[in-house]
Subunit: 195 residues, 2 copies
DNA sequence: CGTCTATTTGAATGTACTCAAAAGCGGTGG
DNA sequence: CCACCGCTTTTGAGTACATTCAAATAGACG
């Protein structure tokens, strides 16, 4: 039966090759963590002590405007992806984002000292995290181009094409927040398409 | 008298420490390149063969919609920053962006094999490029939050606050393209502020 | 001075939002 | 089993934000 660590290990070894001693060391650094739906993984203002890998479940990374109480979702973290305020984690500074579980979640966590030790002991991870950071960056560049070149309706259509499973899995008001549109307007877009 | 390579070296050594042999090796990998205003550094469809450091001048990285001919500026590259289609460079695939000089430019370039050799010979650079990639990523995250949470007028105000020098240096229609607004509307925003 | 390009201005239009009310939907307890 | 509660989605009217298009003005450069 598959252990939680296996999905993390598989994600890693699809990009870099490790020997058994490295695998054992790597696996020893991660601790399981469970979150109930609604629980916070990180709260803005705190230092993000852990980088978390999502084994099962789904979270939102968002910013809250304290003037209006309005939430803006920066991204969702689903299975086989990461959930952290990366800037807070790598600089060990106060987080600017909140991270909250949208479903019951199973995570694997590494703390900052262990993360530094990992990079030191197995320098390949320096490369690994450079590459996944780059790939995330490329997706953000595409998203920015979308926001400056498309109408909100076009952005929604592109979203359901790229992430059909997220669109089905999450309520409309969260999708709307991610896209930067009102739930009412998203409702109108959706009803338009079916006619 | 300062050589072009000095500004690159200073940027690098502000984050990592190199010995003299490493400095010499590093400097040997970069070749100067000059561009006249209007010249292309990269054209969409080509493979981005070089990573370029901007010693002097200014370029735009943009995407062209072939249906409409409309250009959308992803970012500007000014002194002490980089100009490349990073995804094209690191994966040696066809570029999706064009890069064009907005002024006469002085660059330093490294080709892909030399870049790989640099990472291999001096693994510290693996770390260095991970860190600057992360920092660029954080700025993109903030930009995305801006696009989903602010009106276009608010985005312009945030832009001039963050990049007053770019706002003065470049014509309005380029700023408008970067912000994803029309030049006419930007004109109206600007005239409003002065009243 | 003339030409080319960039900016400004205004009217008409389109896109998306606000606000309010109604309808849908899932869970819980009587 | 149904009634009620809380939360999400839908719908519509009115409004605000931003665009399009066209024409006038301003600036840069030879």
């Amino acid at each position: 039966m598959a252990k939680p660590i296996d999905s993390l290990l598989q994600t890693i070894t699809s990009k870099i090759t490790l020997n058994q001693a490295e695998i054992d060391f790597f696996c020893s650094l991660w601790k399981p963590r469970f979150l109930k739906k609604g629980q916070y993984l990180v709260q803005a203002g705190d230092v993000c002590k852990y980088d978390s890998f999502v084994v099962k479940g789904c979270l939102k990374i968002f910013h809250t405007n304290w003037q209006t109480g309005q939430e803006y979702i920066l991204s969702f973290s689903l299975e086989d992806w990461w959930a952290s305020d990366l800037e807070s984690f790598v600089k060990q500074r106060a987080a600017t984002y909140d991270i909250q579980a949208l479903e019951d979640c199973q995570l694997l966590q590494i703390d900052y000292p262990s993360f530094q030790e990992l990079l030191k002991q197995i320098p390949q991870f320096e490369r690994y995290f450079r590459i996944i950071t780059e790939n995330y960056l490329f997706s953000l560049q595409k998203r920015i181009l979308g926001t400056i070149s498309q109408t909100k309706e076009e952005r929604y259509k592109a979203f359901i094409k790229q992430y059909p499973q997220i669109n089905k899995r999450l309520p409309q008001y969260l999708i709307a927040s991610y896209l930067g549109i009102t739930p009412e307007f998203l409702s109108k877009i959706r009803s338009k398409k079916e006619s």
